[in-house]
């Protein structure tokens, strides 16, 4: 399946780009799976791995690692928010 992935703030800056469209292997069912998949790219991508303080949203709603990833989802990764 294909999903759109967005990156924000310090994560966007360190990765060097703000979004990508990904075709995912069938082994990826959850947000946690997707984070691990991206972290395996190594280097700056390890920032998405376990133990790093990264939050996520699916279709513009905050989502945890067990949330299911569906085709054409808009998935975003970002550091804890600091507005207000």
């Amino acid at each position: 399946m294909s999903v759109k992935v967005l990156y924000f703030a310090s994560l966007r800056e360190s990765l060097g780009y703000s979004h990508e469209t990904l075709t995912l292997p069938p082994t990826i069912a959850t947000l946690g799976d997707l984070r691990a998949h991206l972290a395996r790219r190594g280097g700056v991508w390890e920032a998405l791995g376990d133990g790093h303080n990264v939050r996520a949203a699916i279709n513009q709603e905050m989502a945890g690692p067990d949330a299911l990833v569906q085709p054409r989802d808009e998935i975003a990764f970002f550091p804890p928010v600091t507005g207000g």
Partner: protein, 171 residues
């Protein structure tokens, strides 16, 4: 809109603005009670960019830039307002949050709440600020003459949001 009326989706959208432009807190405050005879209390909050970042920093910030997640920002602020509307007896709510580059002294955020009674107005206004701080997808970057850095999230903000109990708004 009375305090007993359900909050229509259109009203919810109308009361949240995410914008680069400045706003007029005076005009927004007046609008919350204009022409009404049932509003007894208007509580407002304005957040501003501070130059002084404390003794640990080498120099004052020259620019603070707010990045946000267009679309999700509006949705999350609307969810926060909806939850406030369900928790307290309110007569009007207005939330404005700016994005883009801002210099010290500039306004960042406005939250205004109208209610019959001051307890509801104060509580809802502070609740919206606490939740906005920990739930709305904004990120602050500070630039000083020595360089820039992204602002870390503060544990005190999580604690402030936690005192309102279990949210329906996800975080």
């Amino acid at each position: 809109m009375t305090s007993d009326a359900p909050l229509a989706a259109a009203s919810l959208e109308a009361c949240v603005s995410v914008q680069a432009a400045d706003f007029d807190p005076g005009a927004e405050t007046l609008a919350l009670s204009a022409g009404r005879r049932d509003v007894g209390a208007v509580a407002t909050f304005v957040g501003l960019v501070r130059a002084d970042k404390g003794a640990a920093e080498a120099s004052e910030i020259s620019v603070m830039t707010l990045e946000h997640y267009p679309g999700m920002t509006e949705r999350s602020l609307q969810a926060i307002v909806r939850e406030a509307w369900e928790r307290w007896s309110l007569q009007g709510v207005r939330v404005i949050h700016r994005f883009g580059p801002l210099v010290p002294g500039e306004r960042i955020v406005f939250v205004g709440v109208a209610s019959a009674h001051r307890g509801d107005a104060f509580a809802a206004c502070e609740f919206i600020m606490d939740y906005l701080k920990t739930r709305a997808p904004f990120w602050k970057r500070e630039d000083t003459p020595e360089g820039g850095r992204w602002v870390d999230a503060r544990e005190t903000d999580d604690a402030a949001a936690a005192r309102w109990g279990s949210p329906k708004v996800q975080g």
